[in-house]
């Protein structure tokens, strides 16, 4: 059996002949954007929320990243956040809203509070719910109708997906991080290469990663179409969880730990598809196009369309046009206007530490605007405690307040049309960071290097 099978089987309430399963959900995260219509659904049916204690809410997508103590200026955003507050109150859901010390991006706070645990099933009306899979949980994004189903019954109707294992063996080179691993994988198999699959990441390169780094990888599973990604829990996982606010403690911890140690794929487990990658082949990556599969090593050149099938060429041309880039050109040296270090992919304390260590004693290039948006209030507080804010200040980087921010530009943090932004987020879609904005996805280190030089840079050349 695979790790996925083991968790799946424990959560099937009923298997419908030739159809989906009634599938039980342990934890349900919600935020302001995809929940209001689901709450209204409960009201229309006149039913309560089935398990409020298993439901956790935060405000993240819409929130400003300056002056969070003031009322939200933008009327519609304010309304949505107020609706969430009202709904949580009416239906008895714990809300870590603006001003709360636990507020933050939903996929950052779940793990850091110890709510996300191995062996669980976790959903949220948000595709990057796959992040939580880093703990050895089945975690996936759902639509608003499904949010309503979980509200109403704590269950979903689910068909078991196919399974893929991606094994990455060996050691990562200097300046190469987990973000580069996942950008490399997606570039290899394309933005739809894992559609219909749940992915387990395995191999020595994965085992050696911290929890933060594992979350970055699982987070972007959705960018290759996968339903989710997961990693078997191990001592790194258990050490991370121990002592966290909602993690089990005392005798319960020992009992859980014994259960969690059973959570791995058997030696003879069968996968529908297997991919093997050598860590040594991975270099710092950067995207040049408008889907996350359009990535190349930072030393590479933007590919031409000759390798593509005829019918794929118009979309490819459209992407390059939008980006204002040309086939055959090097990506290194491309001018950058904005740097965004944030999002549920890379806004954890480890990301901020890495960036701070790199920029200490350096300064941002003229004309470049650099935004660092911590993933949560706790990350923000930790960064301040460690004095990282001083390093950022000296480097000319703005340390803002937590939220999704320029990852999707629902608040004021938008990249202006035509400008280039190197971003540690997960999507380089047209208009994602603002209408006409041009996004290049990269690791926090690569983003920090570009901040310092003002152009796309091979960070390895700047590392001692």
């Amino acid at each position: 059996m695979t790790l996925f099978d083991k968790i799946w089987d424990k959560h099937v309430v009923k298997q419908i002949e030739g159809g989906p399963s009634v599938f039980y959900i342990d934890r349900h995260f919600i935020h302001e954007v995809t929940s209001p219509q689901a709450f209204d659904g409960l009201r229309k049916r006149g039913i309560p929320l089935a398990r409020p204690a298993q439901t956790i809410a935060t405000a993240d997508h819409n929130v400003p990243t300056w002056d969070q103590h003031l009322p939200i200026k933008e009327a519609l955003s304010r309304l949505q956040v107020e609706k969430l507050t009202e709904n949580c109150k009416a239906f008895g859901v714990e809300l870590y809203g603006l001003g709360h010390p636990y507020q933050g991006i939903v996929h950052v706070i779940g793990p850091e509070l110890g709510i996300t645990q191995p062996g669980m099933t976790i959903v949220c009306g948000d595709s990057h719910t796959s992040t939580h899979g880093a703990f050895g949980a089945i975690a996936f994004g759902i639509g608003t109708s499904e949010v309503e189903m979980v509200f109403a019954t704590q269950c979903l109707m689910q068909n078991k997906p196919k399974q893929m294992r991606i094994s990455i063996e060996g050691e990562l080179g200097k300046g190469v991080s987990s973000k580069d691993i996942i950008l490399y994988v997606i570039a290899q198999i394309s933005a739809s290469g894992a559609t219909g699959y749940f992915v387990e990441y395995a191999g020595s390169a994965i085992r050696s990663l911290s929890m933060e780094a594992r979350m970055t990888i699982c987070n972007m599973s959705i960018e290759m179409g996968a339903r989710g990604g997961l990693i078997a829990p191990d001592d790194t996982t258990f050490e991370y969880l121990k002592g966290r606010k909602f993690a089990p403690a005392g005798a319960e911890w020992d009992q859980k730990l014994a259960e969690w140690r059973q959570l791995n794929s058997d030696a003879d487990a069968q996968f529908d598809h297997e991919i093997h990658i050598r860590a040594e082949d991975i270099q710092p990556m950067v995207t040049y196009g408008t889907n996350p599969g359009m990535g190349i090593p930072v030393t590479g050149t933007i590919p031409g369309e000759e390798l593509l099938e005829e019918k794929e060429r118009p979309s490819f041309r459209k992407a390059l046009d939008y980006m204002g880039l040309q086939s055959g050109n090097a990506i290194k040296g491309q001018k950058i206007d904005y740097v965004f270090i944030g999002s549920c992919t890379n806004s954890r304390i480890e990301d901020l530490r890495q960036v701070a260590a790199f920029v200490q004693g350096r300064r941002k290039a003229d004309g470049v605007e650099v935004w660092i948006v911590p993933g949560s209030k706790q990350v923000e507080a930790q960064a301040q405690e460690e004095g990282l804010h001083l390093i950022f200040e000296q480097a000319g980087f703005q340390l803002r307040q937590p939220g999704c921010s320029a990852c999707l530009g629902m608040n004021e943090d938008k990249i202006p049309a035509g400008k280039y932004c190197i971003s540690t987020s997960n999507r380089n879609f047209e208009g994602r960071q603002g209408q006409g904005a041009r996004t290049l996805l990269a690791s926090p280190l690569s983003a920090a290097a570009a901040a310092v030089t003002g152009v796309v840079t091979d960070v390895r050349e700047l590392l001692g």
Binding site: G143, M157, R427
Partner: protein, 192 residues
């Protein structure tokens, strides 16, 4: 259940839900009215309804209908159900593509927008037919799980989960079924 209609061809591949409905329109707290913002940034210059982008297919008066025929990997990216609401609200009853992203597919089914997956070849033929004659129809028969390119007579069959098919035909949704399972769910919880 049948959907017979002319179709609108959107050949782009990897159309993500950020294009279908840009994030700034997700601030609504109801399900209604998303149709006017469907593909907003592909439809208008400067976000201005007085300045339509005439080369975008929804603005081409030659094409209309209740079926959207779209390039491979339609609906990837964000899980926003608003994408399905926008397509449905605009007037589509079915989307045909050679590949759908998973979450979009579920969202579509939950909103009675039928996702019809066909082969790459069949999809290309549909594009060719529609371009040659925008008045030609596509006939989708859910009962039979078939789709016919009426002009050429070519017919293909598509997969749909039997449970979902029944829901679709009878207008049931998953919540009704799940609510009927309540006591079994409680029994499950007592030992979980």
């Amino acid at each position: 259940m049948n959907i017979n209609s002319t179709a609108i061809p959107l050949e782009d591949e990897n159309v993500d839900t950020d294009q279908i409905i840009p994030a700034r329109f997700l601030k609504a707290t109801s399900r209604d009215g998303f149709g006017k913002n469907l593909f907003r940034d592909w439809r208008y210059n400067n976000d201005d309804e007085a300045q339509p982008k005439m080369d975008f297919v929804l603005n081409n008066p030659a094409f209309n209908g209740k079926i959207l025929v779209a390039g491979k990997n339609f609906g990837c990216g964000s899980s926003r159900e608003h994408a399905a609401w926008a397509l449905k609200d605009y007037g589509f009853d079915a989307v045909v593509s050679s590949f759908f992203a998973d979450i979009f597919k579920n969202n579509a089914l939950n909103n009675f927008l039928l996702p019809v997956q066909v082969s790459d070849d069949f999809l290309q033929q549909l594009f060719t037919t529609i371009h040659q004659n925008p008045a030609s129809e596509i006939a989708i028969d859910l009962e039979q799980q078939s789709i016919t390119n009426v002009a050429t007579g070519d017919k293909a069959f598509f997969d749909i989960n039997q449970y979902k098919k029944t829901c679709f035909i009878n207008g049931y949704d998953d919540i009704d079924y799940l609510l009927s399972m309540k006591s079994e769910i409680e029994v499950f919880e007592s030992t979980h």
